[in-house]
Amino acid sequence: MAYAFDFSSVLEYREALVDGTLKTLGLTAIGAVFGLAIGILGAVSRAWKLAPFDRIFAVYVELIRNTPFLVQLFFIFFGLPSLGVQINEWQAAILAMVINLGAYSTEIIRAGIEATPKGQIEAAQSLAMTRAQLFRHVVLPPALLKVWPSLCSQVVIVMLGSSVCSQIAAEELTFAANFIQSRNFRAFETYFVVTGMYFLLALAVRQVMIQAGQRLIARRAK
């Protein structure tokens, strides 16, 4: 092979890589928690046709799922300050990720809710459960359990998608990679290392999500 690898020039910047990794994970964690929360609200609104929220969520889902994430990010980061809303790059990145994951998870969780057998709901109603109790104890846990693998994948996709936040100077892992290769001119080695890091991160995030699903939902769904 003609290319001489020099990974030491990347390792010099390991602090930037570690820092970027932590920020990517932080973005993903906050994005996942609030994104899934929005997803649950949106899913129940749409599945049970709670007016006017079902309409609002329908528009929101179509708007977000049919526009690129990068454009949404630019809209928030460059657009909102022009309207007088001051927002820094981290607030913009978190907002964009929450909004984005919220839209996708609304549709994923809705599928789970709509798959609830009618008999289960009728059984709960015959026990004189309120609608809220019915949703919390009978509908939501099995619904989430059914679609949990899809949600895990969606969170991983959002984590990988957070790389575009580097475009608004949010110093996450891809920003660290871009920064390093603009200083050491070792693009191949830098992206080699960062690609490996993303791969490991994705595996780790998936494992955490699967464990969380077991602990939080599987037990209640039984």
Binding site: F78, P81, Q86, Q167, I168, A169, S182, R183
Partner: protein
């Protein structure tokens, strides 16, 4: 043995030719120009705002204005010769142009080949920001958010001198850096004066004023070596244009900023 006459002829020819070239190089360009009444000036045609082709297909820009002003002061008709950044010096050294006014920066390699006048145009990387923020030097950027295009000369240079409390936000390209400034995401940006001029010309959202220079490389008029009379005349004229304020008007017109005091 038989080849010797041929060799002699060749040698003689070469001598004549080199004498001819030497004669050309030593000819008094100023006297020649005054004889013909025209001054041939090499100007850029692809480097706004220094030189572009206008809608009327005629060259226009900072350098063209300066060429015309120098011609006016010398009482000569100006013949503009469009050149590119790679052939501007060869045009001068081979006698196809009398002067090069083509946003030419000075460096030791070029100084071996041609002579330079005093500076006639500012060309620098610096920190730019709104009029109401008082910034005199790198130390004043402490606590400020400065946008810069990642990996650019101004990124590398400013990173060296920036105080630790200055936050440097690095963006992907010039457009993102400028958008970040215009939308108020950063308080200052590091960029080139030509870029800042282009922004000021196109938008009035938020003005870019020069705060301080990071790297300075002003433009000079290039003349051939050994043209002392021409060089002295050009220096005299540029000095006069600076004093009369006419060069300042050219700067206001094309760079949307006054000439720096130390130019």
């Amino acid at each position: 043995m038989q080849k010797r006459p041929f060799l002699k002829a060749l040698l003689a020819g070469a001598l004549v030719a080199s004498a001819g070239f030497a004669g050309l190089a030593q000819a008094d360009v100023l006297a020649n120009a005054q004889k013909t009444g025209t001054l041939r000036v090499a100007v850029p045609q692809d480097f706004p705002p220094f030189g572009t082709v206008g809608p009327d297909m005629k060259p226009r820009g900072y350098d063209i204005d300066v060429a015309n002003l120098i011609g006016r002061e010398l009482g000569l008709k100006v013949e503009l010769i469009p050149v590119s950044s790679t052939n501007r010096i060869p045009y001068l050294t081979t006698g196809k142009a009398d002067l090069v006014i083509s946003s030419l920066g000075k460096n030791p390699d070029r100084e071996k080949v041609i002579d330079f006048s005093i500076a006639y145009a500012p060309f620098f990387n610096g920190i730019f920001g709104p009029t109401d923020i008082a910034i005199k030097g790198a130390a004043d950027t402490a606590g400020k958010i400065v946008g810069v295009t990642r990996g650019s000369v101004e990124d590398l240079e400013f990173t060296k001198v920036a105080p630790p409390t200055a936050t440097i936000k690095r963006f992907e390209d010039n457009n993102a850096t400028i958008s970040a400034y215009l939308s108020g995401q950063v308080q200052l940006i590091a960029t080139g004066n030509v870029v800042a001029a282009a922004v000021n010309e196109r938008t009035k959202i938020r003005r870019l004023d020069t705060k301080f220079l990071i790297k300075n490389s002003p433009c000079y008029v290039g003349v051939n070596k050994g043209e002392a009379a021409l060089l002295a005349k050009v220096n005299e004229v540029v000095g006069k244009l600076k004093k009369s304020g006419e060069l300042n008007q050219v700067s206001q017109r094309w760079l949307q900023a006054p000439l720096p005091a130390d130019l």
